[in-house]
């Protein structure tokens, strides 16, 4: 009996044509610190490759408390080996506190990991976040390492 069935891989187009399987998670309050706090970025590892993600900065009050989001630890810390050379050189996005709203439109990107730090420089200026993602049924081990050192620009 065959037990080692082939798995769908990241190039399996029909997996992206279906709607995503729900995945919702978040940080604890003020869990995402700035780099100067001496902590590592918060790392979210999805069990399957994403079809799309939508992120919300759930911090309230101080509008300087922006959330920094990247696809690699180096990227979110802007310390990667292969950052973009055109325009903005930092391979991360920042999300304002807004009105508790998710990124709209949803971000249709395939990834298995997201990294978060606070973009507000200084101790005690932590932020928090919430993610909602639509997952494919492609296992995360089928995704290539999405890093600058693996040849991907715009990741870090």
């Amino acid at each position: 009996m065959a037990i080692d069935w082939p798995k769908v891989s990241i190039g399996h187009v029909p997996s992206y044509m279906m709607s995503g399987i729900p995945y919702v998670t978040s940080s604890a309050n003020n869990e995402v610190h700035v780099l100067s706090h001496g902590t590592s970025p918060i790392h979210i590892a999805f069990p399957f490759v994403t079809r799309w993600v939508s992120i919300k900065n759930t911090e309230t009050g101080d509008h300087n408390r922006r959330l920094r989001v990247g696809f690699s630890a180096n990227g979110v810390m802007s310390s990667g080996s292969n950052v973009p050379t055109i325009g903005e050189t930092d391979p991360y996005i920042t999300i304002d506190i807004g009105d508790y709203e998710h990124t709209d439109p949803i971000l249709e990107v395939m990834c298995t990991d997201l990294y978060f730090i606070s973009d507000y420089w200084g101790v005690g200026r932590a932020v928090d976040f919430q993610i909602i993602a639509g997952l494919t049924n492609i296992p995360r081990d089928q995704m290539y390492p999405l890093t600058g050192s693996n040849g991907f620009e715009g990741i870090g």
Binding site: V24, T25, A28, A45, Y100, G134, N137
Partner: protein, 155 residues
């Protein structure tokens, strides 16, 4: 004559490629109860969703909604987290829709949504409106979308 025709399963791709069958529903004012164990309002879709949008209206019939809205994919998903982020669960597996706001169009497949208020236990009730595009996949063909069934990120 055969009666037991095969049904399309939840991975039937063409079902997600055609436009959704409209499904619209809403609560009465403050029908989503305040947070607490087994305290929720539930919308069960007759077919698997292709997408949905949730709104938390400021008023329903001229009566004000009391608080923001919590939305989850299981009853357990509405429960408060008990610690810092953990890959094995233990997080906020719900999202919040602020009063007067609505979500983007979430292209997500599910057969149930669970709602409660995000405010103070006992008084923080909320209201909701849902518009969904449904596939032709019967909800009985969908898996149990719960943490105990192996799904992370739903509670």
């Amino acid at each position: 004559m055969s009666f037991n025709w095969p049904k399309s399963g939840n991975n039937h791709v063409p079902s997600y490629q055609i436009s959704g069958i409209p499904f619209v529903t809403s609560s009465v004012v403050n029908e989503a109860p305040s947070k607490g164990v087994d305290s929720y309002a539930k919308v069960a879709f007759p077919f698997v969703t292709r997408f949905f949008v949730v709104k938390c209206p400021t008023t329903v019939g001229g009566v004000a909604t009391a608080d923001n809205l919590r939305v989850a994919f299981s009853a357990n998903g509405l429960i408060e987290p008990t610690g810092s982020y953990s890959a094995s669960g233990n997080n906020r597996n719900y999202f919040i829709v602020m009063e007067g706001k609505e979500t983007p169009r979430f292209e997500m497949r599910c057969k149930e949504l669970f709602f409660c208020g995000d405010g103070i236990q006992g008084t923080g009730k909320s209201s909701f409106e849902v518009i969904a595009g449904l596939t032709t996949i019967e909800s009985s063909q969908f898996f149990g979308l719960t943490g105990s069934n192996g799904f992370e990120g739903v509670g």
